[in-house]
Symmetry: C2
Subunit: 436 residues, 2 copies
C-alpha cells in the first residue's frame, strides 16, 4: 500500500512538471443518433495520446459549460462507458443552442473563456456541431491571434440537416436518412395493404426547415426492385396546391395508394410555412399544427381520400436503433481526426468527409478551414430534384445511397437498447461565478 502511494505521488509531481495541455470538448445544437460516436472518437483518441493531451474536459451543455466553468471530467469514465458512447444517441454531456456574439459585441465572454481555459490548462478546443457551432468554434480559434491565448480550435461536423459546406455530408444525416427511408418503405407497404377499403394516402412529415435533404431520403424507399408511389414536398419548391392534388389523384388512380413525404419547411409561394396556416382552437388562439396535418386535411377535403399522417420529429434524429453503419463510422472518424489534426498543430479547421468514388463507395478524411465553413449553408443541388418538383433524381440517389448503407445495432437488454449514461462528474471550480 505504502509503496503504491509513493508511486502515485511521484507520478503527480511528474505530471505537474510536464503537464500536457488538457482538451475541451462540447456538443452543440440539435443532437443526433451519432454525435456521441464523435465524442467517443475524440476521447478514445485523446486517451491514446496521453503524453500530448492531458484530460478531456467536456462542457456541460456545450459552450455554456465553458463560460460557467461547468466542466465534466471525462477521465472519471471507464473505457467501457466511453466505448458505449459509440452506440448511444443524444448528447451525453448536454447540448445547447447558444451562439457567441462577435469579439467586438461581447468581449467579456471571450475573456471569460480564456480565464476558464487558463485555469484548467486547456489548449485544445473541440466543438461538435452544425453551422452556428462552426461559427462559435471559428471565433474561439481566433483567440490566439486576437487575444494572445494559445488555443487550437477544431470543429467536429454534426448535423442532421446535412447543410455544412465542403464536407461530403454531415455525420448525423446518414442515420436520419436511413430512418426516413426505412420508415417510408414500411408505412408504404402498410397503406398499400389497406388501400382497397380504407387508407389510400399516407403522409409523413420530416425535419429540414431550409433544405430538403431529409425529405429526399424518403425517395430512397422506392427502388427498382421495390417501386413505391412517393410524392416528396421539398422546402426548395414553392407549394402548388393544385399541382400537388392532381399528382395525388393520378397516383392513387394508377397505384391504388400513395405516400407523401413532406418537409416541415414546405411553404406557400408567399413564404408562409404550411404548418402555420391559420389553425385556431375553440377560443380563437392560433395553433401550430404540422405540415402533415395540413396536407392530410387537404387530401381529405379536395379528393375525399382517407388518409393517415405521422410526424417523426425527434424520433427520426434519435433513432440510434436503426443508425447507418456508414454514418456511425464517419461520426467516429471525424472525432478521431479532430484530435489527430490537433496533435499535428492545426487550428481553425474542420475534418471533412471527402468522397473518392460512388461504386464502390470510398471516402477519406479531409480538412477544411473554418473561415470557409462558418455561416455557409449547403443547399441541395438543383439537379437533385426532378423537374416536376416531386421526386429525387438519379444523381441524388447516387449521392444518398452510400450514406444509409450498413446497420450498426446497439446491444439490447430485456428488449431495450442499452444506452449509456455517463457519471458526468464535475471538475472542481476555481473561478468566480459568471452570469451569461
Amino acid at each position: 500500500m505504502a509503496a503504491k502511494k509513493k508511486v502515485a505521488k511521484k507520478k503527480t509531481v511528474r505530471a505537474k512538471k510536464e503537464a500536457p495541455k488538457n482538451a475541451f470538448y462540447a456538443q452543440s445544437g440539435g443532437v443526433t443518433a451519432v454525435i456521441n460516436a464523435s465524442a467517443c472518437g475524440v476521447i478514445e483518441t485523446a486517451r491514446k495520446n496521453k503524453n500530448k493531451i492531458g484530460k478531456v474536459y467536456a462542457g456541460r451543455n456545450g459552450i455554456i459549460g465553458a463560460l460557467t466553468e461547468d466542466l465534466i471530467d471525462t477521465s472519471k469514465e471507464s473505457a467501457a462507458s466511453i466505448k458505449a458512447l459509440r452506440h448511444t444517441p443524444s448528447g451525453a454531456f448536454g447540448s445547447c443552442r447558444f451562439k457567441l456574439k462577435s469579439l467586438e459585441q461581447n468581449k467579456r465572454e471571450y475573456e471569460r473563456l480564456i480565464e476558464v481555459f487558463e485555469a484548467h490548462n486547456i489548449g485544445y478546443f473541440f466543438y461538435n456541431g452544425g453551422g452556428d457551432s462552426a461559427d462559435t468554434c471559428y471565433k474561439v480559434s481566433q483567440l490566439s491571434k486576437e487575444m494572445g491565448y494559445p488555443i487550437q480550435a477544431i470543429h467536429v461536423p454534426k448535423t442532421v440537416d446535412n447543410d455544412l459546406p465542403i464536407t461530403d455530408n454531415c455525420p448525423g444525416f446518414g442515420s436520419v436518412a436511413k430512418y426516413i427511408a426505412v420508415s417510408t418503405r414500411e408505412a408504404s407497404f402498410d397503406v398499400a395493404s389497406m388501400a382497397k377499403t380504407s387508407t389510400k394516402v399516407f403522409v409523413v412529415e420530416v425535419m429540414g426547415r431550409h433544405a430538403g435533404w431529409i425529405a429526399a431520403a424518403g425517395g430512397l424507399a422506392s427502388t427498382d426492385d421495390t417501386p413505391i408511389p412517393i410524392i416528396i414536398l421539398f422546402p426548395e419548391i414553392e407549394f402548388d396546391q393544385e399541382k400537388f392534388i392532381a399528382r395525388v389523384d393520378s397516383m392513387v388512380k394508377k397505384h391504388g395508394y400513395c405516400t407523401v413525404v413532406v418537409s416541415e419547411g414546405v411553404h406557400w409561394p408567399d413564404g408562409r410555412f404550411l404548418a402555420e396556416s391559420g389553425l385556431k382552437d375553440a377560443f380563437g388562439h392560433s395553433q401550430l399544427g404540422g405540415a402533415a396535418t395540413v396536407i392530410a386535411n387537404m387530401v381529405q377535403s379536395e379528393l375525399g381520400l382517407k388518409n393517415h399522417w405521422a410526424v417523426a420529429d425527434y424520433l427520426q434524429r434519435a433513432a440510434r436503433h436503426i443508425a447507418s453503419k456508414t454514418d456511425v463510422n464517419m461520426a467516429y472518424a471525424m472525432g478521431k481526426a479532430a484530435v489527430q489534426f490537433a496533435l499535428k498543430g492545426h487550428n481553425s479547421i474542420m475534418p471533412t468527409v471527402d468522397r473518392i468514388s460512388n461504386k464502390p463507395f470510398k471516402w477519406k478524411v479531409g480538412m477544411a478551414p473554418l473561415s470557409k465553413v462558418a455561416n455557409v449553408e449547403k443547399m441541395m443541388p438543383n439537379n437533385f430534384i426532378t423537374n416536376d418538383g416531386f421526386s429525387i433524381t438519379k444523381a441524388c440517389r447516387t449521392y444518398l445511397e452510400p450514406l444509409i448503407k450498413g446497420e450498426d445495432y446497439p446491444p439490447y437488454k430485456d428488449g431495450l437498447p442499452k444506452y449509456v449514461r455517463l457519471k458526468n462528474i464535475g471538475v472542481p471550480k476555481k473561478l468566480k461565478k459568471f452570469v451569461i
Copy 2:
C-alpha cells in the same frame, strides 16, 4: 422427358381422385409488422401437409376476395418468398375493413361464400385479424351448422390493439410495444440533452383508441438502470388538464425535462377526444389535429415550456425493422397452430398464447372457442395503471416486458430492408361476378 410427362399426368389423375380440400386464408383489419409471419406459418404448415390440405388460396383484400372470387394461388410462390413473409410487414395479400352482417340480415353474402368455397373445393377457412374479424370468422364457422356446408373456420389472432380476449396477448402488439418503448427511450435521451437551453417536454402520440396497451408500452422505456421521467396519458383515464399541467411542471422542475406519451384515444370528461378539440382553419373548417398537438400547445400556453411533438401513426405498426422476436415467434406459431388445429378437425376456434410463467418467460399454444372471442374487447386491468393515472404499475411491467424481448432483424440490401412482394397470381374465376 416423355417419362417425366407421364408421371406428371398420373399424379394429376390421382390428385383429382383423392383431392384434399383447399384452404382459404385472408388478412383483415389494420395490418401489423408481423401478420405476414402468421401467413408464413399457415402456408408453410399447409405445404408440409399436402396430403390433407390442397392449395392455400389467399383472399385478395380479406373476405372481399372470397366474396368476389378474387383468390390468390399461393402455390405459385416460391418457398423463399413464403419464408420472406416472416420478416415482411404489412398484409401481403391486402387487407380490408369489412364486417359480414348476420345470416338473417344478409343471407346472400353467405350463399355467395358457399358458392365460392364449393367452386374451389375449399374446406378450411383461416381468418387473420382482430375483434371484428373474429366475428366474421365465427359467422363463417357456423355455415356447417346453419347452411350445411362443411367448413372448418379458424381465427388467427392479430391486432396491435392487444384487445382480443382469452389469449395472453395478440401478435402485432409486442412489436408496436417494442417500437414505442425504444422510440420513447431514444427521444427522451434527446430531449434530456436539449433541455438546458431548448426543448424541455417531448410529446409522442401513440395508437390505441379504446385501450391504453400501446401507451403503457411507453412506460417500459424507463427502467431501474435507466430511469426517465415519463407521463402517460391513457384513454382509460379522463383527461384532467390541471392535474396534468401540474405534473409536467413538477417533473420539469425536478428532472429538467419530461416525456409525455399520449394515446390517440385520450378524451375529456365529456367524452370528446383531445384530437377533436375544435381546431379550425383559416376558412373556419373544422380540422382534425392530433392529441399530441393539443398537449404540446397546452404545455406551451400554460407553462411556457418549449416542446416538440411526434405522431407515430403507421410508423409504429409497420416498424418490422425493430420487431420483437417474441412477437414474431408468436405470430408464426399462431399461423402454424391454426393449420394443425384444422387438421385435427377443429372448427370455430382461435389458437391462443397461454402464458405459463413470467421469469423465465414461458408460454404455450392454447385454444379458445370463437363464441367467446367474437365481439369481446379485452381492456387493460385496473391494476396496470398507477393511482395517479400517469404511469404503469409493476404488474403491468411484468406483463409487458417479455413481449418486447428479443430482436428479429430483417435482411438488408443497400441500406434498406428486403421486404418481399409476392406475385399474387389470381386463381381463374369460375363464377359470375358478385357485387358487394
